[in-house]
Each structure stands twice: as C-alpha cells, then as structure tokens.
C-alpha cells in the first residue's frame, strides 16, 4: 500500500492540549483528522468525517474508546473507525502514539 510506504511521523502537540474525553483536529492539505483523548489518556486518530453523513466526529461525546457522532448519534470505535453495529461504515483511522507527553501522528 502506497499510503503506508510514504507514512511519516509528525509531532502534533502535547497530551494536555486536549481535554480528557475531548478531541481536537489536525488539518492537513487533504484531510481533517480528529485526535481523541480517552479517559485513560490513550489517544486515537480518525478522519474527522462520520461514515454516515460526514458529521465532524471531533465534536462528539467520547465514552470508553468510542465517540458518538453529533449529527445522528452513530457510535464509532476509536480503535479502527468502525461504526458500532447495527450501523455499518468506517472512518479512516491514522496511526498515532504518545512519546512521553508528545502526540505523534503518522500521515
């Protein structure tokens, strides 16, 4: 996959710049990526568009490792972007990791 081949890790900010159970976005030339911080301080990155009607997932309510889209309440798994059954669909997910307090995103 060419996307994986050209993947590069970028520093995007510190963990405490995102509230717990909150989200902020990273803008790239081609996409808007929502970075989520769960209650256990794990971080996730998904394309900021719900697979249903492109709602901004970064504005949703986080619970566990899931986010509820603010437009029509689809629930999306943060781990892989999959919609929780019975809904079907997937938001693109991006590799993301913490180096100490620094959030690193692969794009």
């Amino acid at each position: 996959m060419s996307a994986v081949m050209s993947e590069k890790w970028v520093e995007i900010g510190k963990l405490d710049e995102i509230p717990r159970l909150g989200s902020r976005v990273v803008r790239t030339a081609t996409d808007e990526i929502a970075i989520f911080r769960a209650a256990d301080d794990s971080v996730f990155a998904l394309s900021n568009r719900c697979p249903h009607k492109q709602g901004p997932l970064s504005e949703g309510i986080l619970h566990g490792h899931r986010v509820t889209c603010p437009l029509h309440n689809w629930v999306i798994e943060l781990e892989n972007g999959e919609a929780v059954a019975p809904d079907v669909g997937c938001a693109r997910s991006y590799p993301v990791r913490l180096e100490g307090e620094t959030i690193m995103l692969a794009i």
Partner: protein
Amino acid sequence: MKERLVLIGNGMAGVRTLEELLKLEPNKYDITVFGSEPHPNYNRILLSPVLAGEKQFDEIVLNRREWYQQHDIALHSGSPVVEINRVQRKVVAANGVEAGYDRLLLATGSSPFIIPVPGASLEGVISFRDIHDVEQMLAASRQYKRAVVIGGGLLGLEAANGLIKQGMDVSVVHLMDTLMERQLDAAAGAMLKRSLEENGMHFLMGAQTEAILGDKRVEAVRFADGSVVDADLVVMAVGIRPNIELARQAGLYCERGVVVNDTMQTYDPRIYALGECVQHRDTCYGLVAPLFEQAKVCANHLAELGYGRYEGSVTSTKLKVTGIDLFSAGDFHGDEQTEEIVFQDQAGGTYKKLVIKDNRISGAVLYGNTVDGAWYFQLMREGTDISDMRESLLFGEAAHLGSSGHGGQSKASAMGDEAQVCDCNGVCKGDIVKAITSEGLFTVDEVKAHTKAGASCGSCVGLVEQILANTLGGDYSAPEAKPLCACTDFTHDQVRSTIREYELTDKQGVFDKMDWRTPDGCHVCRPAINYYLISAWPGKAQDDAQSRFVNERVHGNIQKDGTFSVIPRILGGKTTPDELRAIADAADKFNVGEVNLTGGQRINMLGVKKEDLPAMWAFLTERGLVSGHAYGKALRTVKTCVGSTWCRFGTQDSTGLGIQLEEMTWASWMPHKFKMAVSGCPRNCAEATIKDFGVVCVDSGYELHIGGNGGVKVRATDVLCRVTTEEEVMEHCAAFIQLYREEARYLERTAPWIERIGLSYIKKRILEDVDGRKALYTRFLESQDVAQHDPWTVRAKGAEAHEFTPIKQIGE
C-alpha cells in the same frame, strides 16, 4: 479455571439470559446447553405466522449453531436432561451425556395441557407448542379437511386462524361463553367472535369435550351434551403447565412452578430458574415479555454484579390474527372499588373499556381500534393520575395531543407495507416488520437501533410500538420502568434522587455510587447526569464541558455541514437600529452564508466556521449583544406582541413584561428547551397558548398558561391561574420553571411532563402551597446568580481557546 454454567432448556428465556450474561461477563463461565428439541433456539412467538404460511422456519431462528460456536458454548440439542444430581452437581441427559456445574440455570418452559379424555392419544390429536406441532398441522392440512380446535383462548384462535389459511374447515370448541375470557370481557369477546365468524371460523361455545372418537386416527369429537362433530385433526390448546418434573425430582421446592425469589434463584442457591417453568410471587407467566425482564436480572446475578431485582410484570395482550385489532391489559373485569368508562359502537365495530381505580387505570380492553393501547398501558404502568383528562381519555392520545410527522396515520395494522412510518428517516412499515422478525427484535429501542425508525424526532414511536405489538402479538410488553440508558438499570428518577440524597457533585461519584456498567457512561447518560448535578447543586457541582452536547459546549448550533449558527438575544423581540446594524455588519465581516428570521423573533446567522466564532462574538458583544442560547436545553425566547403601548386592543404592556421575564430567566439550564410568550390581549398574537409558559394579558390582569408545545406534538396550554400584577407573573413564572428544572426528566419538555404528573399536582405546588411557591422562586433566583453569565463574552476574551482552534496545521 472458569466456572461451569449449565443451561437446561434451549428456548427463548434461557438463551436470552446467556446473551445478557455474555454482554456483562463474556469470559466468566464455560457454558453447556441442553435442549430437548433438535433445533437451535427459535422464536416461538412466530409459530403462528409459520402455521399461517406467512413465514418459513428458517426465518424464525434466533441463534444459529454458529452463534453457539462463536461463544464457545457446547450445545446438546435433541438431548433432554433426565436427572439433576445436586450432590455431585451434575446433570445427566437421556443419551447418557453428563455435565458438571457450578451454577445451573433451569429454563424448561411449559407443556400444553392435554385434557384427559378417552381418545386423547389417537393419531391426529396434537397440541400447539413447538415447530414439530406446526409441521404436523401443516401435513394434516394437505391431506385432510376438517379440524377441531379445543380452546378459544389466544393460542387456540391463532391455531384456528392458521388452519383456515391452510384451507381447512375449522370449528373452535370453548368451555366458557366468552372467547379469550382471560383477556376480554363479554362485550369485546362477542365482537371478536362475530369477526372471526365472518372469516369462516365456526364456534361451539359452552361445550365440554367428553371423548375423542376414532380407531387409529381421530374421526370425531363427542361433547357432554351428546352431540358429535366430525374431525380429521384435533388441536388441543386449553392452556399450558410449567415443566417442573425435573426440578421436583431433584428436590427443588415447587408449587405450580419452580419457586424463585426476586433474583430468580430457586431454593438451591446454585440453581437459578426463569421463564414459563417458574413461579414468582405466586404468578406463572405464559408470555414472552416477562421472560426478558427476568433474563436481565438473572444474568446480572450470574455475572455476580449482585444488584437488579425482578418484581413481577404487568402484561398486555394482542391477538396475531390479521385484520383483528384487540388489546387487553391489567384487571379489566373490575370490582366494587372500581369504575368503568366505556365506549361502544356496534356498527362501527369499536369497543373501549377502561377500568379506573383511585383515579388510575387498572385495566383496559380495546376492540376494533387499538391505537391507544400503548398509551393506556403506559398510563397504567406509570400509575398516572387521570383525573385531569377523564373527559377526553376514551378519545385517546390523539385527542389529547396533536401529532405532526405521520400524516395523521395512527392505525398500524391498517397500514400497507409501503406506508412510511418514520418520516424523518424514511422507514416503511415493511422494513420494520422485516427487522423485527428477521433480527429477532423485541423492544422499541432495538427497532430504533436497527431501522432508525423513531430515532430522530420520536413522533412515530407510538406507531412503532404498535407495529411491534402487532408483529409480536401477545408476547410484547413494554418494559416496566425504563432505565436511563444501556449503562445502567436505574431510571432517571432514581439517578436524580441518589444525587440529592448522597450529595453527589460529579459524574464519577454517580458512576461509583450506582455501579455504572461503563467507565465513563455514554452520549445518553452523561448529558443527563451533568444536568441533574448542576441543577441540584448550583455553583457547587462543576459543569463538565465534555458531557455537554456540542451545541452547548460550543455555544452555537451545529449544522449539517459542521458549521455553526449565531443567534444573538433580542429581549422580548424588541430591537433597535443599532443592534440591527451590528448584526448586519457581523454578517458582512464574517461572510455569513445566510441570514434568516426565526420563529422566536430573532435573527439567525448561518454557516459560521467554528474558528470564527470567538471573533464574531467579540464583535457582537462589543456592540451590546449577548448569546441567545438558541442552541441549549435552556430558556430560548420570550415572544411578545406590541401590547398596550401601540396596539388599539392591547390591555397591558406585553412587550415590557416579556423583556422582564427574559431578563429574569435567560441562561437558565433546563431539562429541555423552554419557550415563553406574552400576548397583550386574548387575540393572542404572540401565540402564548403553545408555549412552555405563556401569558395572555386581560383587562383585569394576566392569565398564566403552562405546558404548551408547537413542535412534534401540538399541545395547547393548560390555564394555571389569573393574577393581577407583574410581580405575581414573575414569581409564578420562576416557581414553575424551578419546579420543572427540579422534577422533570432530562429531555422531557413541559408538555409531556405535565401529561405525566398531572396539572393538579402543579396547581398544588404553585397555587395552593404559597410558601412552597416562594421557596421555588427563591431557589430559581439563587441558581440564576450562578448561571447568568454571557458565555460569548468570556470566550471572546479567550476562554476555552482550545475549543476553537486546530491543534496543528500541517501543510497549507
């Protein structure tokens, strides 16, 4: 090593318990299931449609063999258990298979009762209980013509209906004089009989079966009066009895059924039981709905969570015979302490009877028009005081509340499959019926999740509930008390009273105290809990931004494209050229996509990008405008007319009063949005009679109105009282709002709240209890001290900046 759980009975009750258990504790047990039928678990409710030829067996299977494999459950089908050895803690099946247990679950169901008459064991005499019986009936219908069904109850009539559909000539024999006498009174029973006769069913009423005649196969049935009816097939459907033989042999205490306590435990604490085989608080249930409530409780205890009690079910009944609408619930016969409200239209084929005890519905029978069955059932379950709606009660919910959004359509059974039920999401009746039967759905919430019907504005939920009831027939009943969400079994009211009683001030306290199933709740419970906390402890409980829906967190309304709308407050609808210029300049400066006028006398600027919001608010607040809270579960607008200042009919200064009301109430968080209006005279140009709180000025003072709604369900207000001064208007308004804030459930508008608790109660609290009113008024003003800060001003100055800016921009 895992504990061993053995389930005896591969039916709906037992397997539902396993499903609930797997949701709670997927890895706690090694599970083994014994079933006497050679099939996986299927939906027994839908046997009638299979018999009527409307469905195939495949379509009613609930859990296929793959499901058992996926969850590592050992399934022994076609393998009845013949012994429970409680000393060695093992069960033994007829084929010799043994399984040891740490916990045992009995769900052995019930058997049809066979009348002990001569000839009962002849070929062609069968019951109506499982798929094997249905197959036998279908086979007989291909070969024979004449059928006799013994038993004119729910099951017997469904069997008779199916056999007629298969082309047989069917006579129903009933011992009593009324069909379905356990569900219907004499009047409704007679109407049902007439309709079924029109479908070609024959009846022998008050007939006692004496013998079944024939050599090898049944040939006729003889009755106590000596009469004889020819028959090639006899179906016995006179009732069921719990299967308790196995439990009795094992020495478990049984009466009519296996006796269990409120945690579904038998007298042996290692052994649980549920479903049709049990007797709980002296009741044995023969419908499916109670089983699901039992399954939830049982799974909870098997998972060792240790809370959850089953306290019995109120059930309702519907008959699954096409073209017949019938509903019954509760104690519909009544006694000396009850009274009846009856509507009877023989020619129109409509009959309604409500049994009332202490101003509450204790039973209902509906025939011909069952639209309001679900509504009556809800009033009954919730114990709603109906004294305020006695006069219109029989005319149903529609007479009470006008609905928008399903074209006046309210009769589910008369709808075609293509008829649209949910107008928000475009879901047709056929889609819903298909989802119910193919996905095995039993609750409105499940239908919402799978089809989206009723998941948006909610106006069609009653219709969805009816379709569910029609499809599942006698086996559907709405849950007793609805839990707040899937994270808990507690209701809104229980959560709220716990917050008060234990002085909980943050969400974690609630989750800990009430054993929340999820670590941080979900999008349903978090906003509700946040509201309950900040309304119970103003200034003390921390408002949690991450538990707010985006609109309230960002102080603007999110639109479908992710942009926001900006609506400044225009007090009482009265504005100035300077304010209008400021709004126009803001719209120019921030490239607003569209400007429109709202129904609440304000101006809406649409299409604003999120990162532009703080700057736009700064621009507006510098010019004296503040947030209109058009995005919140909060006071929205106070609509006014120009009143006595200008209008030749005006009796009071309605505009001035509207402004005072808005100044007092703006920024107060509520269970749902809240709208007010003040009209200057009874011509009511400000439409005060469809607002949450409305004032109609009259020559002698002010008429106060409450509980109106112009949205999903139109509801005209109830008149609260008349007062003579503006000060009294203010005090009553604040007291009413505070009562609503303290007692209504989150996301409950004032209209359904008043429907639920009754106008009398509100009058008692606001009018009769003068000290109480003053205390409510004071509490409202105190909470306003904390709440009345313009959210735009502080954010324009940089508060919560992280909310409005990307964390990083990469590339252009």
